[in-house]
C-alpha cells in the first residue's frame, strides 16, 4: 500500500496530473468564471485585509518621503497658486451666475436635467495588477457595497474605466488605457462620434489612440472628448480627455490621432464609482 502510494507520488505523475488540471482550468475560463468565483471570494477575505494594511504602510512611507522632498517646491508653488486662486474665484462667480441662468432657462422650457447627479461611491485603490502587461487595478469596494459589473469609474473629473469583476469585498477596474479597451466617444461640442482605444505600445508617451472620426471635420489639439450617447456601457458625457494631432488617415475616409487622458493613471489613489448603469438608465 505504501509502495503504491509513493509510486503515485512520483514527480512525473504529479506533473502530468497538474498539467491536466491547469488545462481544464484554462479551458473552462474561456466560457465561465463560475468555477473561480468561490475560490476568489475565499482568498480575497484573507488577502484583501492584508493588502489594505500593506497599502496603508506604503502610502504612509511614500507620504513622509514626499513631504520632505516637496516642501521647498511647494512653498514656491504656493505663491503662484495664490494668484491663480484669486482669478479662479472671480471666474467661478461668473460661472455660477451663468449656471443659475441656465437653470432658469431649463425650467422655462420644462426640460429635465440631462445628466442628473448620479449616485457615486468613493473607493480606495488597494492593488495593481500582478503583471506588467495590464493597467488594471483593484479597489476596496465590492458586491457588499452594492457595486456591480459594468459600472463606470471616474476620478479627478475624468473617465478611468469600468468594473469588470466584482467580489465580496473588492472589485476590479479595467482602465481605458488598457490594450484591449475600446470606448465609444464623441467631440463635446459637435457630437461627432469616434472611438478611444488603449494601446500598450503608447504607454511611455501617456497617450492613447483616437480613431474613426469622419473626414472633413476639423479637430484641434485640446478639443474635449467625452463618452458618446451611443455607447452601451458608458454613461453619456463623461470627460475622457483631450484630442491631439488628429490627421486624415491614408484611406481618406476617416481621421485619427491621439488622446491625452484627463486622468493621471500613474497616481490614482481614490476613485468614484457611479452606481447608475447605462443599461438600466435606458430601461427606466
Amino acid at each position: 500500500m505504501k509502495n503504491k502510494l509513493s509510486a503515485l507520488m512520483n514527480s512525473k505523475y504529479i506533473l502530468i496530473a497538474v498539467t491536466v488540471l491547469c488545462a481544464a482550468f484554462i479551458g473552462t475560463s474561456f466560457f465561465t468564471d463560475r468555477l473561480v468565483a468561490p475560490l476568489r471570494d475565499a482568498v480575497s477575505t484573507v488577502v484583501m485585509p492584508l493588502q489594505k494594511g500593506m497599502n496603508y504602510i506604503g502610502l504612509w512611507v511614500a507620504g513622509k518621503y514626499d513631504t520632505l522632498q516637496e516642501l521647498n517646491s511647494v512653498l514656491e508653488e504656493n505663491k503662484k497658486l495664490q494668484g491663480q486662486v484669486d482669478s479662479l474665484v472671480e471666474e467661478n462667480n461668473q460661472l455660477k451666475q451663468e449656471s443659475y441662468e441656465l437653470d432658469r432657462l431649463r425650467q422655462l422650457y420644462e426640460l429635465d436635467e440631462k445628466y442628473p447627479g448620479y449616485e457615486k461611491v468613493a473607493a480606495r485603490v488597494i492593488g495593481t495588477t500582478s503583471t506588467n502587461w495590464y493597467s488594471t487595478f483593484t479597489v476596496d469596494k465590492g458586491s457588499r457595497d452594492g457595486i456591480e459589473k459594468d459600472m463606470n469609474v471616474i476620478a479627478g473629473g475624468g473617465l478611468v474605466g469600468i468594473i469588470t469583476d466584482v467580489g465580496l469585498n473588492y472589485s476590479i477596474v479595467k482602465t481605458i488605457i488598457e490594450d484591449n479597451s475600446y470606448v465609444s466617444a464623441m467631440l463635446i461640442d459637435t457630437g461627432d462620434i469616434c472611438t478611444v482605444e488603449g494601446d500598450i505600445e503608447l504607454m511611455d508617451s501617456g497617450l492613447i489612440h483616437l480613431r474613426y472620426f469622419k473626414s472633413g471635420l476639423e479637430i484641434r489639439n485640446g478639443d474635449k472628448i467625452v463618452t458618446s450617447n451611443i455607447s452601451d456601457k458608458y454613461l453619456q458625457g463623461i470627460l475622457i480627455g483631450y484630442a491631439k494631432d488628429v490627421a486624415t488617415d491614408p484611406n481618406n475616409l476617416t481621421q485619427s490621432g491621439y488622446l491625452l487622458p484627463a486622468v493621471d493613471f500613474a497616481h490614482i489613489q481614490e476613485v468614484l464609482i457611479i452606481k447608475q448603469k447605462k443599461e438600466k438608465l435606458e430601461e427606466g
Binding site: S6, M9, N10, S11, I14, L15, V18, T19, L21, C22, A23, A24, F25, I26, T28, S29, F30, D33, L35, V36, L39, R40, V43, S44, V46, V47, L50, Q51, M54, N55, G58, A62, I126, G127, T128, T129, S130, T131, N132, W133, Y134, T136, T138, D165, Y170, I172, D179, N180, I200, E201, M203, D204
Partner: protein, 176 residues
C-alpha cells in the same frame, strides 16, 4: 508539512508585496515578478515536488484576480518548479548560478508565453518591442531581486529543514 505551510505563507506574503508595493518599486513601469522566484528556489533546494507545489499556488494566486486565462500562470510556474527540481542535490546549496539560470530561462519563457497569449493573438505583431520593453527588463529586475533574496530564503529553508521529520527527507530522495 511544516515546511509546506511555511512555503504557502511565503507565497501569500510575496503576492501581497507584489500587488501592493509593485507600483512603488517599479522602474520605467516595470516591476519585478516576485512570485516566480519561489518555485525556482524551493525546486532547487527541496526537489521537484516542492517546486511544483510552490509553483502551483503562486501561479493560482497570480491568476486569481487579474489574468483572463485562469490556470495559465499556474501551469507555467509548475513547469518552472519542476525544471528547477531537476538540479536538486546535484549542486551545493550555495551554488547560486544554477537556480539563477533556471530563473532567467523560466521568467523569460513566462513573459514570452504571456505575450503570445495576450498580445500576439490579438494582432500585436511587434514582438521585438514587447521583448525589449517588457520581457527583458522584467527578467533583469527579477534576477536582481533574486540575487538579493536567495541567501535569506536558503537560510530560512535550512532552518525549516532541520526541524522537519527525517521521513520527509527520504521521501524526497526517491524523486530525484
Amino acid at each position: 508539512m511544516k515546511r509546506k505551510l511555511a512555503e504557502l505563507v511565503l507565497v501569500l506574503f510575496f503576492y501581497v508585496l507584489q500587488v501592493s508595493m509593485g507600483r512603488a518599486v517599479c522602474i520605467g513601469g516595470i516591476m519585478p515578478n516576485l512570485l516566480v522566484i519561489l518555485p525556482v528556489v524551493f525546486g532547487f533546494l527541496n526537489g521537484k515536488n516542492e517546486g511544483m507545489f510552490a509553483g502551483f499556488f503562486a501561479g493560482i494566486l497570480y491568476d486569481l484576480f487579474f489574468s483572463g486565462l485562469f490556470g495559465f500562470s499556474a501551469l507555467v510556474f509548475v513547469y518552472i518548479g519542476y525544471f528547477a527540481g531537476v538540479f536538486y542535490q546535484k549542486y551545493e546549496q550555495n551554488e547560486m548560478l544554477v537556480p539563477l539560470a533556471v530563473l532567467v530561462a523560466g521568467s523569460f519563457s513566462f513573459g514570452f508565453l504571456s505575450y503570445v497569449g495576450n498580445f500576439l493573438l490579438h494582432n500585436r505583431l511587434n514582438a521585438m518591442y514587447f521583448i525589449s520593453r517588457f520581457i527583458l527588463p522584467e527578467v533583469i529586475y527579477t534576477t536582481i531581486v533574486f540575487v538579493a533574496l536567495y541567501k535569506p530564503l536558503a537560510y530560512l529553508n535550512t532552518k525549516l529543514y532541520s526541524k522537519d521529520k527525517r521521513r520527509m527527507h527520504n521521501f524526497d530522495e526517491r524523486n530525484i
